[in-house]
Assembly symmetry: C2
Homo-oligomer: 213 residues x 2
């Protein structure tokens, strides 16, 4: 895929994902065109930022009617999505794992949560949100059989570090970690650590900063 630009900043990737979600919702409502400042307004950012992001990915078909919603959705898809769908597993099917799987499936046709792993005997062998739950002991074997390449870590923070070796051994390529234990992996495995405490402390800090200035 030689025409796809590389080295797009992380924040642009995040916004492209967000634009696409807004565009999909607009498309559903029958909206065919959208101006950059309207799209910007829906995300609380400037039109310049939107135009800059789209320029970075080589999209420039701004017309007098604004962007063609359907074309832009497809264009962003070519940047973000892999050609083959990626399968995802949720590690830890407590409240957070259940919230994520319920919320996520169906949102992106190229990314699907196909399995969950837990050690709770009441959960193992059952299905929650139509996702089968397997015992953690079967992790490597199921990852291979189900062609899973991404995992979401949503189990108790204390046990999260124990997963590093199984995740490496199973050949997982990307990890989205929601526990408060930052996980490190060798190069070649993408990891994003999203601790809710950090997010809350950040919001609180900027509230405090705003009050002091």
């Amino acid at each position: 895929m030689a025409n796809i630009p590389h080295g797009i900043p992380e924040k642009t990737i995040e916004r492209l994902s967000e634009y696409r979600r807004t565009l999909l919702a607009s498309h559903k409502q029958g909206i065919t065109h959208i101006f950059s400042h309207v799209l910007a307004g829906m995300h609380g950012i400037t039109a310049v930022q939107v135009r800059r992001d789209l320029m970075l990915i080589g999209f420039s078909s701004d017309t007098k009617k604004g962007y063609d919603v359907k074309v832009l959705i497809e264009f962003i898809g070519r940047i973000l999505d892999s050609e083959q769908p990626m399968n995802i597993a949720v590690l830890g099917m407590g409240h957070l794992g259940q919230a994520i799987s319920k919320y996520f499936n169906g949102k992106n046709l190229k990314l699907r949560i196909v399995a969950a792993f837990d050690i709770d005997p009441e959960k193992v062998g059952s299905e929650i949100n139509s996702i089968p739950i397997f015992h953690m002991e079967e992790f490597e074997q199921r990852v291979e059989a189900l062609d899973i390449s991404l995992v979401i870590v949503s189990l108790p923070s204390k046990v999260a570090p124990d997963l590093v070796v199984p995740i490496i051994n199973a050949g997982i390529k990307g990890v989205l970690n929601f526990t408060s234990s930052p996980l490190s992996f060798p190069q070649g495995i993408v990891v994003e650590n999203y601790d809710i405490t950090t997010l809350l402390e950040k919001v609180a800090y900027f509230v405090k900063e705003g009050e002091e200035q």
Copy 2:
């Protein structure tokens, strides 16, 4: 608080919050000093990055034994924490709201989830994770009575936009939004939109990028 530096980058704030959590865990284990490269290793970053972040906040008491863990915890606290504790409310006590409140309370003494709001008659009037659940109708009144300044939005994405006006009217200062509806607020209200779909799409993108290069 004239000595506290302003304009610290967002990413540094995030890392300070993460360093503090690691330092607190180390302190609990009886560790009194830590080298920058050890702290860096625990977060999968370079020692240069750690030293740069701490330099930004004016912390420079690196000794031959490394950083004094207790002193550094207190120093980061002076940057991140407000002097008065901030009270938080969770809007939507489904799986995600429950996961967050169970996980978060007790993690930071200056930030406390003191109330939750929902419209489910089975939940309203009860307590989950020791947090009382009120009806959304009582939102403004309870926010004032309980001195709540931050909210976590964890209800279905469809209804999230309906909360913007009540949040503004109630005088909320900071919003952490986990729904897929990006919320915009007037200046003076800090908002962080964290859509799980975005996080997953980002990880998937960087996995794809890694494979193509």
